[in-house]
């Protein structure tokens, strides 16, 4: 199952489907990094609204994505973590430390807009 990546201006948006396997996640990681380079994107939004389980592997992959993208000079925002998923994540000790988060896609875009405005 491939994760679609949408290009909207300077931002790339990747939307997770439910039931992603480890292989899908690894594939997404490389695809995102490649496209950030190719389009000189300033930011990536990963929308995980549909994910009903975020285990240690998925969480680690998200952190790695954010880290690699920061090395390319761009910013990552994780949006759409469900309340129940967030509760399970913190029980597991998965807090996505150092990665920006927002309630949903709309909030994620608003966050980036404000940030870019300040940077200008």
């Amino acid at each position: 199952m491939e994760v679609p990546i949408l290009k909207q201006g300077q931002v790339l948006i990747a939307t997770f489907q439910a039931a992603l396997s480890d292989a899908d996640l690894n594939q997404l990681r490389s695809a995102l990094v490649q496209q950030v380079v190719r389009f000189r994107s300033r930011a990536v939004i990963v929308d995980v609204t549909a994910m009903d389980v975020m285990d240690s592997f998925a969480s680690r992959t998200l952190r790695e994505i954010a880290h690699m993208i920061r090395l390319r000079g761009a910013e990552t925002v994780i949006v759409g973590i469900q309340p129940e998923v967030a509760f399970a994540m913190v029980q597991l000790g998965l807090t996505l430390e150092g990665v920006a988060t927002a309630l949903d896609l709309e909030e994620g875009l608003a966050y980036l807009n404000q940030k870019f405005k300040i940077m200008k």
Partner: protein, 134 residues
């Protein structure tokens, strides 16, 4: 006595997804809240992942359980892999044997109500966890 028994063979990362989906639907069937079902599915995901990462293959057994006052779900993850040499160390937060990812066992323990582990080097690992419906 269990009425439901679901066995999922775990040998690849696809099976991890299958096991946690089956676990979630069984939990919901047994009347767990969707919040609890998420905790249970997450625990199953971690246990199945350990099988894939450390043993290669094994199985997850899902069952309904009941005592005199409550119903619950039992998840047993078993494999014939290398086993865990030092269990108490594996149950401490922050411990890991392969790279940055730990066994996640302390986390699984926090997600569930009861936790039991049997493992000897060379003889595989069996982790049993239970959660009771409040």
């Amino acid at each position: 006595m269990s009425r439901v028994e679901i066995r999922v063979t775990i040998s690849s990362d696809q099976d991890i997804v299958l096991a946690r989906q089956k676990g979630r639907s069984l939990a919901l069937e047994l009347g767990f809240s969707s919040g609890d079902a998420t905790l249970i599915a997450t625990a199953i995901s971690e246990l199945a992942r350990n099988i894939v990462s450390y043993a290669g293959n094994g199985q997850i057994l899902l069952r309904d359980i009941q005592n005199s006052t409550r119903v619950g779900i039992s998840v047993t993850a078993s494999d014939d892999g290398p086993g865990i040499p030092n269990i108490s160390q594996a149950l401490r937060d922050g411990f890991s044997t392969s790279g940055s990812l730990g066994l996640g066992l302390p986390g699984v323990r926090r997600l569930m109500d009861e936790f039991e582990i049997n493992s000897k080097p060379g003889q595989g690992t069996k982790v049993g966890v239970k959660k009771w419906r409040p």
